[in-house]
């Protein structure tokens, strides 16, 4: 409760959270209250302009863009959450291990991380996406997650290295606390705010990575995401035709979702990072 009260002090965080909550409500509750068609249901022709029944027109399949937008946002967030969770889990595990256990283990883990960081993730992403047979939203999230963790690992290692020299850690060590307990109890909790911020950035990156992959035609199967919406609008030349409703809503939703997350991140940075904290 205390933490929420602190967070609410940042206007940026509140604004970002407000936008995200609105997007979430639209994606999760919209299908129940705002539309009565299924995402794949045909309601009109190829690129029908917005009308009473289809507030954002139809896409190239004749499906309702407004409905697509709800389900698309939901899928994109789903992929983002899975990817953010996977990337943060791997990054924190490797970073904490490397930062806490020095010597060969650290060298090996960070060497591996540094090698991966030099490979452009988009290349690995494309190769993995092509290799995977059933690209559901969840598998796509995992794929994006396993390519995105290295920078989290590096940052967490740096934090861990500095935490390791704190006095409370020394005291615990003298008391004979084991390494695992040490990492879980004495180190990790002190990084929670940082890890949560890293998670939000991973989530943002993953939503954009999904859009990139989908626009290349490597999007999730049999579901609609913001990226696949953009993919088909590009393929069907909606820009030349002037069917703005096919690409503007998805672009706007991608932008405001990532913008709200980045805003939340900046707000938290303000709170948790003393050098940025406004003097009051």
């Amino acid at each position: 409760m205390e933490i929420i009260r602190i967070l609410l002090r940042s206007k940026r965080f509140v604004l970002g959270f407000g936008i995200l909550a609105a997007v979430l409500a639209f994606a999760l509750l919209g299908p129940r209250f705002l539309t009565d068609v299924a995402p794949f249901q045909r309601v009109g022709g190829l690129y029908d302009a917005p009308s009473r029944d289809t507030p954002l027109g139809t896409d190239n399949f004749g499906r309702d863009v407004f409905t697509q937008l709800m389900f698309g946002t939901r899928t994109s967030l789903h992929i983002g959450l899975v990817a953010g969770f996977v990337a943060t889990l791997i990054g924190v595990t490797i970073g904490t291990l490397a930062g806490y256990v020095s010597g060969m283990v650290e060298e090996a883990l960070m060497g591996f991380t540094n090698v991966l960081i030099t490979i452009p993730p988009i290349v690995v992403l494309i190769l993995l996406s092509v290799a995977v047979d059933a690209r559901t939203a969840t598998t796509m999230g995992v794929i994006i997650g396993v390519t995105a963790w290295p920078w989290t690992a590096r940052a967490v290692r740096a934090q861990t290295s500095s935490l390791r020299t704190r006095e409370h850690v020394d005291i615990a060590r003298i008391s004979g606390v084991g390494s695992l307990e040490m990492m879980l109890v004495e180190i990790l909790p002190y990084m929670f705010s940082y890890i949560f911020m890293a998670f939000i950035l991973q989530l943002t990156g993953a939503i954009l990575a999904e859009a990139t992959l989908s626009m290349l035609g490597l999007g999730p199967f049999q579901t609609v995401s913001l990226g696949t919406m953009l993919h088909w609008s590009l393929m069907w030349e909606s820009v030349r035709i002037g069917a703005w409703w096919a690409f503007v809503p998805a672009t706007v939703f991608l932008s405001i979702t990532t913008f709200s997350l980045i805003l939340m991140n900046a707000g938290m940075d303000e709170i948790f990072n003393p050098t940025l904290r406004h003097t009051r």
Binding site: G45, F61, M235, W236
Partner: protein, 566 residues
């Protein structure tokens, strides 16, 4: 590499240095998608303007005849007449005065040499020799084509007479000497007999210039444009934008919602029909079904799938209204000459249409399948209906969208169909080797004197088709039926309309019973759209002096175009 790159830059630089006079130039689009690799008329692949007769393939090299899409007949090009002197001998008479662009006369010797050439090397045209016994000179203007006694199939030979472009013996004898196969010849300086010569080519464009000493000035007329240029666009939308902005005069590209160009934006753009379907339907992109997969092996499952597919939606969205709703026949019901064989009663009685309830009824009542918790049916023997992958090359938007609709409508019924869009070479390879569940392709795209026979032959004749795993160029699912093969042989030997109609009727009924493939939509042979800012008098439905083609008898369009005075 550096030298090559520099050379390419130089060529490209020259291309930009001299803009051609706009009022004397026709710009085309949609037939060349990458840099040209030479101008050999016997190779397949994009090499505008020599690739194939339909794609401006008469500009430099000419065949003996051209296929007329509207009449279904052969029209003269190099030859003025074809006469059957007995059951299996055709006499083809050349026009007087035929001549190569280098001034040498074009003789019957060149014709005999060319047909010999396509046989000696394994060119795509070598197949004509399955039906030919010999090609011989009768006199100095006449060539005799003698059909093979075992396979005297006139229509297939007529088809090839429109496809094989005649090349000069005195040039190709020398070219031939230095190579193992004529398919290796790049032929950078083509010498043909046509009304245009190669002007220049670069990675950005290919340009030809009118040849004013053309032999056929009297017979075929003088083309109006002095230059014809095919810019090489990176993508479909770049070419379509150029058409809308008057930078392209005449296009073969798929343009989604082309009517918006004139209805919404007032561009002087037109198509053959001024309203839907805008283009003349001529081929059937079809979903080939792997008959050896568990589940798909069962004809009733294929029948349920056929009922499940939303054909009206494919025509409306995937084909952008350019297709009538697909019927369950191998014969195109409208527009082209073969429509006379379409049998409405048989289709109504034995065929299918979009009816998801009927699909469910077949699955439940006739097959006894039960619906699993995931909504997908399972046959009594435990076979789940899918997942089956339907694939076509990436970037073919109309086909990709059609397959998405197949997938959605099949799943709505309870058949698990998924889509995949690999790069074109991968997709082709899977199709050729039979390594697919469902694949979309046109059985014998285009039209010819041999249609619809050649389409039935493509889908239902397994003789001479390589085994599964090896590369086959037709009958990709290796459908085999003795009765169909016998009917095909009978159809090849008769020209009696009533007899042909009866045979095609029986073949179509076998097709509708066995369902080796499902036609999803109709597609024009070529997309024919034009912009009349600089040139007018393109043929349309109301002014049908030539068919809506970029080659064959569509060549006549160049003669009839009129520059706009400005």
């Amino acid at each position: 590499m550096t030298v090559l790159a520099l050379a390419a830059l130089l060529v490209a630089g020259c291309g930009r240095a001299q803009p051609l006079p706009r009022n004397e130039t026709v710009y085309k689009a949609g037939m060349q998608w990458g840099p040209v690799s030479g101008f050999n008329p016997f190779m397949s692949g994009d090499r505008w303007p020599v690739t194939q007769p339909a794609n401006d393939g008469h500009l430099i090299y000419e065949p003996l005849f051209a296929y007329n899409l509207l009449s279904g007949e052969l029209d003269p090009v190099l030859a003025r007449r074809l006469e059957w002197v007995d059951d299996r001998t055709a006499h083809v008479t050349l026009f007087d005065g035929t001549r190569w662009q280098d001034g040498q006369p074009l003789t019957v010797g060149d014709v005999v040499y060319t047909y010999d050439l396509v046989k000696r090397y394994d060119t795509p045209h070598a197949a004509v020799w399955n039906y030919l016994e010999r090609v011989t000179a009768v006199d100095d203007r006449t060539v005799a084509f003698t059909l093979d006694a075992a396979r005297p199939h006139r229509a297939m030979v007529l088809h090839e007479l429109t496809m094989v472009r005649i090349v000069p013996q005195h040039v190709w004898e020398i070219l031939e000497r230095d190579v193992d196969s004529i398919l290796e010849i790049e032929n950078r300086n083509p010498v043909g007999s046509g009304p245009y010569t190669l002007l220049r080519h670069s990675p950005e464009q290919v340009a030809v210039e009118r040849f004013d000493d053309y032999w056929g000035r009297e017979v075929h007329g003088v083309p109006a444009p002095r230059f014809i240029v095919h810019p090489i666009f990176r993508s479909n939308d770049a070419g379509n934008l150029a058409l809308e902005r008057n930078q392209v005069d005449w296009s073969q590209q798929f343009v989604p919602e082309i009517w918006r160009m004139w209805e919404d934006r007032g561009a002087p753009v037109g198509t053959w029909f001024s309203e839907a379907p805008y283009f003349l339907p001529a081929t059937i992109p079809s979903l080939f079904i792997n008959l050896q997969r568990d589940g798909l092996r069962e004809p009733l499952v294929r029948r349920a799938l056929a009922y499940a597919i939303d054909y009206p939606r494919i025509a409306e969205t995937a084909m952008s209204r350019y297709s009538p709703v697909a019927r369950s026949s191998m014969i195109i019901p409208v527009g082209v000459a073969e429509q006379r064989f379409f049998n409405e009663e048989d289709v109504a009685e034995h065929g299918w249409r979009y009816d998801p309830e009927e699909a469910v009824r077949i699955l439940e009542e006739e097959l006894g399948a039960t619906r699993g918790s995931d909504g997908i049916y399972v046959l009594p023997d435990g076979t789940r209906l899918g997942p089956w992958i339907a694939h076509c090359p990436f970037g073919w938007t109309d086909w990709m969208t059609a397959l998405e609709i197949v997938s959605e409508s099949a799943r709505a019924v309870g058949i698990d169909v998924r889509t995949e869009f690999p790069e074109a070479p991968v997709s082709h390879d899977r199709r050729y080797t039979g390594n697919f569940d469902l694949t979309l392709w046109m059985p014998e795209g285009g039209q010819s004197p041999a249609h619809p026979w050649i389409r039935f032959h493509h889908v239902m004749d397994n003789r001479g088709v390589a085994e599964m795993g090896d590369i086959a160029f037709r009958n990709w699912n290796r459908y085999q039926n003795d009765e169909a093969e016998a009917l095909l042989d009978a159809a090849a030997l008769t020209e009696d309309e009533a007899e042909l109609a009866a045979i095609y009727r029986r073949l179509d009924r076998i097709f509708m019973r066995d369902i080796p493939m499902i036609g999803l939509m109709y597609r024009p042979w070529q997309f024919y759209s034009f912009n009349e800012t600089y040139w007018t008098n393109f043929p349309t439905e109301d002014n049908p002096y030539a068919p809506p083609m970029h080659g064959h008898t569509g060549m006549q369009i160049y003669v009839n175009l009129k520059p706009v005075e400005r």
